[in-house]
C-alpha cells in the first residue's frame, strides 16, 4: 500500500513471506525560508508550554541516544498530541523515525481511516503490524476474552514488531495520571532482553539526565508524555487545533449495552445476541481501542471546546470505559510485566 508522501508497510503480509522488510528513510527533507516571527507559541499557557518543551527534550534525547527508534502510534488523542509535538521537535527536518501501529484488526473503522489519512497528510512513514499467528488462530476480543486477545494481538504483536525491525527504543503515549502502576513508571523505562519490565529494577531517573545506555538485546520504552494529564491533552488539542478521530465527538451512533458498557456496533463481527437491539444514541468515546472493548459515554460534546468543558466537570475516569483494565485487580501491572506498553 504505497501512497504519495508516506510509506505504509504492512508487515503481516511480509511476515508470511518470511523475510525482513527493509525500511527506507524518507529522503525528502522539508525546509523553510520563512523569516517571519512567530507569536503563536506564546499563546500556549505556561503549563502547556512547559509540558510541550519537556516532551520535545525527551524526543530529541531518544533520537540522539539510540540507533533505531520508533514511535508507537495508537491513533488516539495522546498519539495525536505526541505526533504533533514530535514534528515540532525535529523541525525543519522530517520525523527521524517511523510510526508503528500494532493493529489488532478490531479497531473502529474510523480509526483506521484516520490513521492512513494522518500518515498521508503529514508525510510520515507508517508501519502497520498484525500478529498473523493470532489472526490465524482466530483470536478475537469476543470469543477469546479481552485478556487473551490483548496479550496475543497487542502485547505479543508489539514484541514481534520490535524484534522484527530491531527497534532499540519505542515511544509510547502513556501518561502517569492514567493508572496507578503508570504513576511509578520512568520516562525512560528499561526492558531487559525479552522486553521484560521489572518495576524493582528500574534505573533511578534524576534531573533530566537520562541513562540511555543499552546492552545487546535490551530495549527502552520511552514515555514522552508522562507528565501530561487528560485535561492537558484536550486543552493542547484545542489550542493547537490538532485533528483527532471523529469518534471523540458526540454523534448519533448505533449502540448496544453489553457487560454494563455501551458498545458501538461498528460492524457485523459484534454478533448481536437475541436480546440486544441496537439503538441510536448520542455518544462519544474518551478512549479508543478495540471497538468491542471500548465503552462509550452519553455526551452532547460535539466540539473540542465542549469536550474541554465536559472534562472540567467529569466525574468518572477515562479508563472506566476500558474493559481490559477490569479483568482482575492490578491487571495493568500484570500486563506491563508481560511487555504491554
Amino acid at each position: 500500500m504505497q501512497q504519495s508522501g508516506c510509506r505504509v508497510v504492512r508487515s503481516c503480509l511480509l511476515l508470511r513471506q518470511g523475510y525482513r522488510p527493509k525500511r527506507k528513510r524518507c529522503a525528502k527533507w522539508h525546509l523553510t525560508n520563512n523569516n517571519s516571527v512567530s507569536k503563536k507559541n506564546h499563546m500556549l499557557p505556561k503549563h502547556l508550554r512547559r509540558l510541550e518543551a519537556e516532551s520535545i527534550e525527551i524526543m530529541r534525547e531518544v533520537v540522539a541516544g539510540f540507533k533505531n527508534p520508533v514511535m508507537l502510534y495508537s491513533i488516539g488523542k495522546d498519539s495525536s498530541v505526541m505526533l504533533h509535538v514530535a514534528i515540532k521537535a525535529f523541525y525543519p527536518a522530517k520525523l527521524p523515525f517511523p510510526l508503528l501501529h500494532v493493529d489488532t484488526t478490531w479497531k473502529f473503522r474510523e480509526m483506521i481511516t484516520f490513521r492512513d489519512e494522518t500518515a498521508k497528510r503529514l508525510g510520515v512513514e507508517l508501519i502497520v503490524h498484525v500478529n498473523k499467528e493470532g489472526l490465524e488462530r482466530g483470536i478475537n476480543p469476543i470469543d477469546s476474552g479481552s485478556a487473551l486477545h490483548t496479550r496475543v494481538m497487542k502485547t505479543d504483536a508489539l514484541k514481534q514488531a520490535l524484534d522484527l525491525y530491531q527497534f532499540d527504543a519505542a515511544f509510547g503515549g502513556a501518561r502517569r495520571d492514567e493508572e496507578k502502576s503508570r504513576a511509578k513508571e520512568r520516562i525512560f523505562s528499561f526492558r531487559s532482553a525479552g522486553h521484560v519490565w521489572d518495576p524493582r529494577n528500574q534505573r533511578p531517573e534524576l534531573w533530566n539526565l537520562f541513562n540511555t545506555q543499552l546492552l545487546q538485546g535490551e530495549t527502552m520504552r520511552v514515555f514522552a508524555m508522562s507528565n501530561w494529564t487528560e485535561l492537558d491533552i484536550w486543552e493542547y488539542i484545542m489550542l493547537e487545533k490538532i485533528p483527532v478521530v471523529p469518534l471523540y465527538f458526540a454523534k448519533q451512533r448505533p449502540v448496544v449495552r453489553r457487560s454494563g458498557a455501551t458498545i458501538m456496533v461498528d460492524d457485523k463481527r459484534l454478533r448481536l445476541q437475541s436480546n440486544e437491539m441496537p439503538e441510536m444514541r448520542m455518544i462519544r468515546f474518551r478512549t479508543l481501542g478495540c471497538y468491542p472493548l471500548s465503552g462509550a459515554i452519553d455526551s452532547d460534546a460535539t466540539t473540542i471546546e465542549d469536550i474541554v468543558a465536559e472534562m472540567h466537570t467529569a466525574t468518572v475516569s477515562e479508563r472506566q470505559g476500558r474493559l481490559i483494565d477490569t479483568d482482575e485487580a492490578a491487571s495493568m501491572e500484570k500486563k506491563k510485566w508481560e511487555g504491554y506498553f
Binding site: S38, D177, P204, W207, A330, E333
Partner: protein, 437 residues
C-alpha cells in the same frame, strides 16, 4: 458553556509547581496525597469505588476509606503497606497545576528520595505530631537541601491524635527550626494538619483556631516560586544537531537557564569559539527569543564546530571548564563505589564521558551531617569526592545551577545508573582550552 469562555479559561493558563512529600513510613504521606487528590476532585467515581473495594481488602482505617491506597500503586506495596518507589501524581486547581513526587521514607530508599527531590521546587516534610522531629526528618531535610530545594512546608500531621494541641505543635516547630538553620532553606512554613480528617489541608480547620497561617493547598497555590532559572545567566546544552541537508544546520536543545535572543553573541564553552545567534527556528516561524525551559533550535552566524554535549553561554558569563572537580555523590547501587575505578559520566547533554572518582574526601552521615572518613560508598551513602574526567567538561556549581551542575554515574559493565552527583567547585582549570577572556 460557551466555547469562547472555555478557550479563555484555558489560555489564561496557570503555572506548575513540582513538589515532593517526605516523611517516615507511618507519617501519613500517602494519606496526605490521597487526600489532596480526593479533595481537589481529581479522583473520579469509578476510582473511588475501586478505592472502597481496596480499603475493605487491604485498608488500615477500619470502615473509613483509606486514602493511602489511591497512591500506593504496585501490588507488593499494597500487601506490605509501604511505598517502595517514586510515584508521580497530578492535580490541578484554578490557579496552579501540581506534580507530586511521593517518595519512600525507608532508609534503604534514599536514592528514590533524591530522585524525587531532583526536579522539585518545594518539599513537604511530614512529622507525626505524636513523635516530633525524628532522625528520618533530619535525613529527609538534609537530602532536600543537598538536592537544591529551597522551600519547605513542615506538615505536622496527625494533629488530631494530640488533641489539636498548640504547645505540642510549637515545640515541634521550635525543634525543627533549630535543626534546619544550617540547611540553606529560603522558607520553612509549619502547618498543623490531619491528613486523615482533612484539617488544614484544603480548608482551614475550626479545631485549630490558634493557627493563623494558611491551609496547605492555599499555600501551595500561592507560594512564589518565581523560577530562579529565569534570572540566571544563559546556558544552552546542545542536545542534537539538526542537519536535514547541506543548507541547514541547527542546534537543538532546551535552554537550561537565562534567555537568548537572535543576534546575541555566544561562546562554545569548551572550545572558546564565539559567534552570534542567527535565528531561533520554530515550526510556526522564528522566535524573537528563548527563555529558560524552552526547547528550541538555533542557527548561528558562523560555521563552527559544535556537537551534542557542547554548552553554549554568553562570552562574559562563561561556565567552568575543567577535567577535575569536587562533588557530592549519592551512591545508588548495591555494588559500592570504589575510588579509582572507571565509570561513565553524563553531565548535561555530554554523555559517555569516561571518568573516575579519584578520592573520597569524606562520607556524610545523613542523620547527623557528620563528616566521616570513608574508603568506599555503599548504597544510599553520600560522599564528598574528587572526580576526574578524560576530557574537560563544562559546568556550573550545583548551588548556582541545578541543570548544569548535576551529573550521573553509570557502571561501564552493567549500564546501571549507580550514582548521582552535584558539583561543588572545579579543582583546576583545564589548560588546553581557551577559557580566559
Amino acid at each position: 458553556m460557551p466555547s469562547k469562555a472555555t478557550i479563555d479559561r484555558v489560555q489564561a493558563g496557570k503555572d506548575q509547581l513540582q513538589f515532593i512529600t517526605c516523611g517516615s513510613v507511618d507519617d501519613g504521606k500517602s494519606t496526605l496525597i490521597g487526600r489532596l487528590l480526593h479533595d481537589s476532585k481529581v479522583i473520579y467515581e469509578d476510582q473511588l469505588a475501586a478505592l472502597a473495594r481496596d480499603s475493605a481488602k487491604h485498608g488500615t482505617t477500619g470502615n473509613d476509606v483509606d486514602f493511602a491506597l489511591l497512591v500506593d500503586g504496585l501490588e507488593a506495596e499494597r500487601e506490605q503497606g509501604i511505598t517502595i518507589d517514586v510515584a508521580y501524581r497530578f492535580f490541578t486547581t484554578l490557579r496552579r497545576s501540581f506534580m507530586v513526587a511521593d517518595t519512600p521514607g525507608h532508609e534503604q530508599y534514599t536514592r528514590n528520595m533524591a530522585t524525587g527531590a531532583s526536579n522539585a521546587q518545594l518539599a513537604i516534610i511530614l512529622i507525626d505530631a505524636r513523635k516530633g522531629v525524628l532522625v528520618q526528618t533530619k535525613r529527609h531535610s538534609f537530602i532536600c537541601s543537598l538536592l537544591g530545594i529551597r522551600h519547605v512546608v513542615l506538615a505536622v500531621n496527625k494533629i488530631d491524635l494530640v488533641k489539636y494541641n498548640k504547645e505540642r505543635f510549637d515545640r515541634i516547630v521550635g525543634d525543627y527550626m533549630a535543626f534546619a538553620a544550617g540547611l540553606g532553606f529560603t522558607s520553612v512554613v509549619p502547618i498543623p494538619i490531619s491528613a486523615r480528617y482533612g484539617d488544614n489541608v484544603i480548608n482551614q480547620s475550626d479545631k485549630t483556631k490558634w493557627y493563623q497561617g494558611p491551609c496547605l493547598l492555599d499555600y501551595l497555590e500561592s507560594i512564589d516560586i518565581q523560577s530562579d532559572v529565569a534570572r540566571q545567566v544563559f546556558r544552552f546544552p546542545v542536545q542534537w544537531v539538526n542537519r536535514p541537508n547541506l543548507d541547514f544546520r541547527g542546534y537543538a536543545g532546551s535552554v537550561a537557564s537565562g534567555s537568548i535572543s537572535a543576534g546575541d553573541e555566544i561562546v562554545v564553552a569548551a572550545s572558546g569559539r564565539t559567534t552570534r545567534v542567527k535565528r531561533i527556528v520554530a515550526q510556526d516561524g522564528n522566535l524573537p527569543r528563548a527563555d529558560a525551559g524552552d526547547a528550541v533550535t538555533i542557527t548561528l552566524e558562523d560555521e563552527i564546530d559544535i556537537g551534542r554535549g557542547d554548552l553554549l553561554a554568553r562570552p562574559n558569563e562563561r561556565p567552568e571548564v575543567t577535567d577535575q572537580f569536587a562533588a557530592h555523590l549519592i551512591w545508588m547501587d548495591n555494588d559500592p563505589l570504589v575510588a579509582g575505578r572507571n565509570y561513565i559520566l553524563r553531565i548535561g547533554t555530554r554523555t559517555g564521558v569516561a571518568g573516575s572518582i579519584t578520592a573520597i574526601k569524606h562520607r556524610i552521615d545523613v542523620n547527623t551531617r557528620e563528616h566521616l572518613a570513608a574508603r568506599k560508598l555503599s548504597l544510599n551513602e553520600i560522599g564528598f569526592c574528587n572526580v576526574a574526567t578524560a576530557l574537560p567538561v563544562a559546568f556550573d556549581p550545583y548551588e548556582v545551577n541545578r541543570k548544569t551542575g548535576s551529573f550521573i554515574v553509570i557502571d561501564r559493565f552493567t549500564n546501571r545508573t549507580v550514582g548521582a552527583g552535584m558539583i561543588a567547585f572545579p579543582l583546576r582549570r583545564a589548560t588546553n582550552t581557551a577559557t580566559a577572556f
